[in-house]
């Protein structure tokens, strides 16, 4: 990523060209764990959006004070603070969802997307650039989660966002809501993303 991109360019880049899940393979635990239905996936994306924007802004504001060897520690403590806020908020206003997401909300602390964005972007750029970057990356994350959750929820329970899509005679593919289905869906979607992104465009290139 070049150093002089405008906030808008950073925002657009995060969505598809540098999608955190499909392109950079970051933040895999929540990607697989909470995508057995669409609602949980969207709540998770919202939590990540909040934490990423908050952490990126704070890190960007204090970037002049960071000491190189304490940097990662400061990042994680900042992130942990925002995650605690998000976790308490979910527990207060969306209790059933907070129960369903369980430990995966606190696990946002060690989500590599956020540490990576703090390190790569926020600790070097102005708050505006950091904000654009955070919004783009979290939107890209939300899109990735939505794609996986769509496949898994429709095939696994015949519904999408809780609304019945497939006819009632559909036999649910139970494997899709089990852990195995998460890995399979992720692997196949990753293959499709690779095929669309690189292999099809320059068929000569080898990996």
């Amino acid at each position: 990523m070049s150093e002089d991109a405008t906030p808008l360019e950073r925002f657009i880049r995060g969505i598809i060209p540098e999608n955190p899940v499909y392109r950079q393979l970051l933040g895999l635990c929540p990607t697989l764990a909470v995508t057995n239905n669409m609602k949980a996936a969207m709540t998770m994306s919202g939590a990540v959006l909040f934490v990423l924007v908050g952490a990126n802004l704070v890190v960007s504001l204090i970037r002049g004070l960071l000491k190189p060897h304490l940097r990662i520690l400061i990042f994680t403590l900042t992130i942990a603070t925002f995650v605690t806020i998000a976790d308490r908020f979910l527990a207060a206003f969306m209790y059933p969802m907070s129960k369903e997401l369980g430990p995966y909300v606190p696990l946002i602390i060690v989500n590599c997307i956020i540490i990576c964005r703090c390190e790569v972007c926020a600790s070097r750029q102005s708050p505006a650039a950091a904000l654009g970057d955070a919004l783009g990356q979290s939107l890209g994350f939300a899109l990735a989660l939505a794609s996986i959750a769509t496949v898994r929820e429709i095939l696994g329970s015949g519904t999408w966002l809780g609304i019945r899509i497939l006819p009632a005679g559909w036999d649910d593919w139970v494997i899709m809501v089990l852990p195995g289905g998460a890995f399979l869906t992720m692997g196949l979607l990753l293959g499709i993303a690779n095929w669309l992104g690189t292999v099809r465009r320059n068929p000569k290139a080898t990996e």
Binding site: G180, M186, V199, E207
Partner: protein, 244 residues
């Protein structure tokens, strides 16, 4: 005897039934990143087992004595019950980061051979979600549990952590073995690398789904029927993930 059975159930649950990688999806980054070769995968597995045990010991101690509602230290200091559990996450991440740092220094000073075999994996473990996940699982059984007889002691916490690490090692070693064979297989180009790794992991996860219910079978076998009602709680709580 009851304690031993409980520990056995926790161990089987953590290592096989609710395998951290293949059931809870934590620790996926090293699972995907370091599973290309068998020897590095083994090294990573043991490094994680080591750190997860140390971090869980520290976080259990802190949760039990300081952080949980009505913990001894805060009650003694302030003469009333205080709930510090809002600080849990910050404290855990701090404990993990510093314990990795100390473990690294200690191992380098006293076990240079072991240090060389761990290599760069020790510092990488700080951002391994499996460690934090183990701390959170332990927290769930210590902090905010109403019935005092159900609160986990140190043996339960350490068993969970150690066998979770063993489960991680098993998963990553199997994965590395398969991926070494995949190097010579003809994989479609779009799936090469991460794509096929995920599909292999999916098949592994399906295989591990086969362990579901083993803990309940063991429990029936090992626990005398009359005392089951009051002693079976920790294992049942733990196995609830496998029933979904």
């Amino acid at each position: 005897m009851d304690l031993l059975v409980t520990l056995l159930l926790i161990a089987v649950g953590a290592a096989l039934i609710n395998n951290f990688v293949l059931h809870y999806f934590v620790g996926l980054c090293p699972f995907m990143g370091v599973s290309r070769r068998l020897d590095t995968a083994t090294g990573m597995g043991f490094a994680v087992t080591f750190v997860i045990s140390v971090a869980s010991f520290l976080s259990w101690t802190l949760t039990y004595f300081v952080l949980r509602p009505g913990a001894p230290v805060t009650t003694w200091l302030l003469h009333r019950e205080v709930d510090l559990s809002i600080l849990n996450y910050i404290v855990y991440i701090f404990v993990i980061a510093s314990s990795v740092q100390f473990v690294e220094m200690y191992v380098r000073r006293f076990f240079p051979n072991l240090y060389r075999s761990f290599g760069v994996y020790l510092p990488l473990i700080t951002t391994n979600c499996a460690i934090l996940f183990a701390c959170l699982e332990i927290m769930k059984h210590v902090s905010g549990v109403e019935d005092p007889s159900r609160v986990w002691g140190l043996p339960q916490a350490l068993t969970l952590a150690f066998f979770a690490g063993i489960g991680f090692t098993i998963a990553i070693v199997i994965m590395a073995g398969i991926r070494e064979q995949l190097d010579v297989a003809d994989v479609p180009r779009a799936l090469q690398g991460a794509g096929i790794a995920f599909i292999v992991a999916g098949i592994l996860a399906m295989a591990f789904t086969g362990f579901t219910g083993v803990d309940r079978g063991l429990e029936k076998l090992l626990k005398p029927a009359p005392s089951r009602a009051e002693t079976s709680s920790p294992a049942q709580v733990h196995s609830s993930g496998g029933e979904e």
